[in-house]
Amino acid sequence: MKEFLEGSMAVARTVQLCKPGVISAYPITPQTHIVEELAQMVADGHLNAEFVNVESEHSAASVVLGALAAGVRAYTATSSQGLLLMSEVIFNIAGMRLPLVLTDANRAISAPINIWNDQQDTVSLRDAGWVQLYVENLQETVDFHIMAYKLAEDKNIMLPVMVCMDGFILTHGIESVDMPSQEQVDKFLPPYKALYKLDVDNPMTLGPLADPDYYTEARYAIQETQKKVLEVIPRLTADFARAFGRTYNGLIEEYHTKDAERVIVAMGSVCGSIKDVVDELRSKGKKVGLLKIVSYRPFPAQEIYDALKNVSKVGVVDRAVSLGSFAPLASEIKATFFGKKKKPDTISSFVVGLGGRDITKDSIKEIFRMLTQKEKTGEFIDLKPELLKENYE
C-alpha cells in the first residue's frame, strides 16, 4: 500500500517485516530515527525481537555478530563515526561469513565534525568483504533491504550486506512509498536457517586463528564469493520483480546512456537530481546520460564496461575522497577501461557534495559542461576559494 513515509520509518517498517531476532544499535545522527522506531516496536510488542542497548557501536556490531553466530537473523544501523567505530567488527563479520544486514545513513567523517551527508563513511569500508548497495530513493531503500537479507543469507553467498542511504536526504526525507505486506515478504524471505552456528551440543568455533597455511584461502573465498554475488543479484532482482512487481537491475542502472556522448557516473540519491538534469538537457538536444552504480561491492566492472564503452566523455561523481590519491569511484571506473580497446576518450573525476554541501542542478550542469573540455582529475565542484586563504601571523 502506498504511504507517505519518512525514510527512517520506512526502513524500520521494512526491518520489522524481515523479522530479525536480535537488533542492537547505538544512536547517531542521522540514523537515530531508524533504531528509535525499532526500539519502540519491540517495546510495544509489535516486533518479536530482542533489542540490545549497548554503550557503543563497537558493542552493537559485536552483539549482532554474536546473534548471527548463534544462528539468529540480526539487524543494526549506524552512520559516520559509528561505522568507523564498528570497523574492526565489520571486517570480522564478513570474515566469519555472517549474513548481517546493516543500514548506513551516509554521513561525513570528522574532523571537522559534520553531521551532514556524503559517502565517505561507507566508501572507506569498501574493502571489508561486505556487499555494498547504494539506493536512490525511498522505494529502493525499502526494496533493497528485503533483497539484502535474501542475498546475505543465500547459502552460496553468506556475506553481510550494507544498504547505504544518504543521510537526511533519504533518512529524513518523506515521500510516497509502496510498503509490501507481511505475506509478500514472508513468501519472498523464508526464516533464516544458519548453515553453521555456535551450539553447545555440536561445538565449533568461528573466526579462530588462521596461520599462514590457511589465511589466504579464507580471503580468497570471500573474493570468489563477491564474484558470485554479481551473478546472484540479477536472479534476485528478477525474483523480486515477480514477487513485488518492481523491477531493478541491482548492479547498475542506465539512464539514457545508449546514444549518449556525455555520461555522469554516480551513486545514491544524487542520481535522482542528475536524471532531472539529463531530461532537461535532452529536451535541448544534448546527448547526455547517467550511469548509476547500485552495487559498489561487488564492483560490476563488466556491466560498467558494456554501458560506457561507446561513450565519448565520462564524468565520475565521487561523494568521498581518497585523500592523497585519486577519487575512489573514479579510479575504479578508470581501472575498468585500462588496456581496453573500446573506451571513453576521457574519464573525468569530480568530488562533489562533501559534508552536506548541496548538489544543485547547476552543480550537475557544470559537470556536464566540463565534460566538453579536457580530462579533469579530482576536480572539486562548488569549492569556495575564499575559505582557503590562511593567515597565521
Binding site: 544518504d166 526525507g173 544543485t360
Partner: protein, 185 residues
C-alpha cells in the same frame, strides 16, 4: 512542480509542518518530497524545511532556492536574513504575525499574508504553535489544496484533543486569509 520553503527555528515544528503539507498533497494523489535542512542542529537555531511536489515522483534532491511559496513560522528570522530570497515573481508568502517585526516590500505580483497564527493556536490548541493555522492559511492563499486534504493529514498526525484543536486551527487560518482576500478585492 511546486516548491515550498519553510523558515523556522529548530524545535518550532517546521518538519511537522512540512510533513502535514506533504501529506495533504499526497492525499490528492500528488508526489510530494518533504525534507528538512538543519543549520546548527540546536534547538532555536534557524532551519528550513522544504516540500517539493509534482504530479510525477520527485527526483530532485537539492534544497529549494526559488520557491513558489514561503511559510515563515518565526517572523524574527526576517531580521537580518532575507527569507524572501529567490521567491518566484508571482510567489506567495504566509507569515506568522509577530509584534514589531516588519514585513519587507515585495514584488508587484508577489503576495504576502500575515496571519495571527500564534493567537489562533492559543485559542484552539492552548499553546503558541501557529504551524497548523499557517497551513490553513496556505490552503486559502494558494488555492492548491482544499481543507479536506489537510484535514486528513491532521487526523493522521494528531489524536484526541490535539486533533480537535489543530482541525479548528486550520479552519481559522483558512478563514482569516479568505476574509483578507475578500476585503482587498
Amino acid at each position: 512542480m511546486k516548491e515550498i520553503r519553510i523558515h523556522a527555528r529548530a524545535g518550532q515544528g517546521a518538519i511537522t509542518t512540512a510533513t502535514l503539507l506533504g501529506n495533504a498533497y499526497f492525499q490528492k494523489g500528488m508526489y510530494p518530497y518533504a525534507f528538512p535542512h538543519f543549520g546548527a542542529a540546536r534547538m532555536g537555531a534557524p532551519m528550513n524545511a522544504f516540500v517539493r511536489v509534482d504530479s510525477v515522483p520527485v527526483r530532485l534532491r537539492s534544497q529549494i532556492y526559488e520557491p513558489d511559496y514561503l511559510i515563515i513560522v518565526d517572523a524574527t528570522l526576517m531580521r537580518g536574513f532575507n527569507c524572501f530570497s529567490g521567491l518566484q515573481e508571482n510567489g506567495i508568502a504566509i507569515i506568522n504575525h509577530r509584534e514589531g517585526v516588519e514585513v519587507p516590500k515585495v514584488g508587484a505580483r508577489q503576495k504576502t499574508y500575515v496571519v495571527p497564527a500564534n493567537d489562533i493556536a492559543m485559542k484552539t490548541i492552548g499553546r503558541p504553535l501557529g504551524n497548523t493555522a499557517l497551513l490553513g492559511a496556505f490552503c486559502a492563499a494558494t488555492g492548491d489544496l482544499d481543507l479536506d486534504s489537510l484535514n486528513v493529514a491532521i487526523k493522521k498526525r494528531f489524536a484526541g484533543k490535539a486533533q480537535e484543536g489543530n482541525l479548528e486551527a486550520i479552519k481559522l487560518g483558512y478563514a482569516f486569509v479568505n476574509d483578507l482576500k475578500k476585503s482587498t478585492t
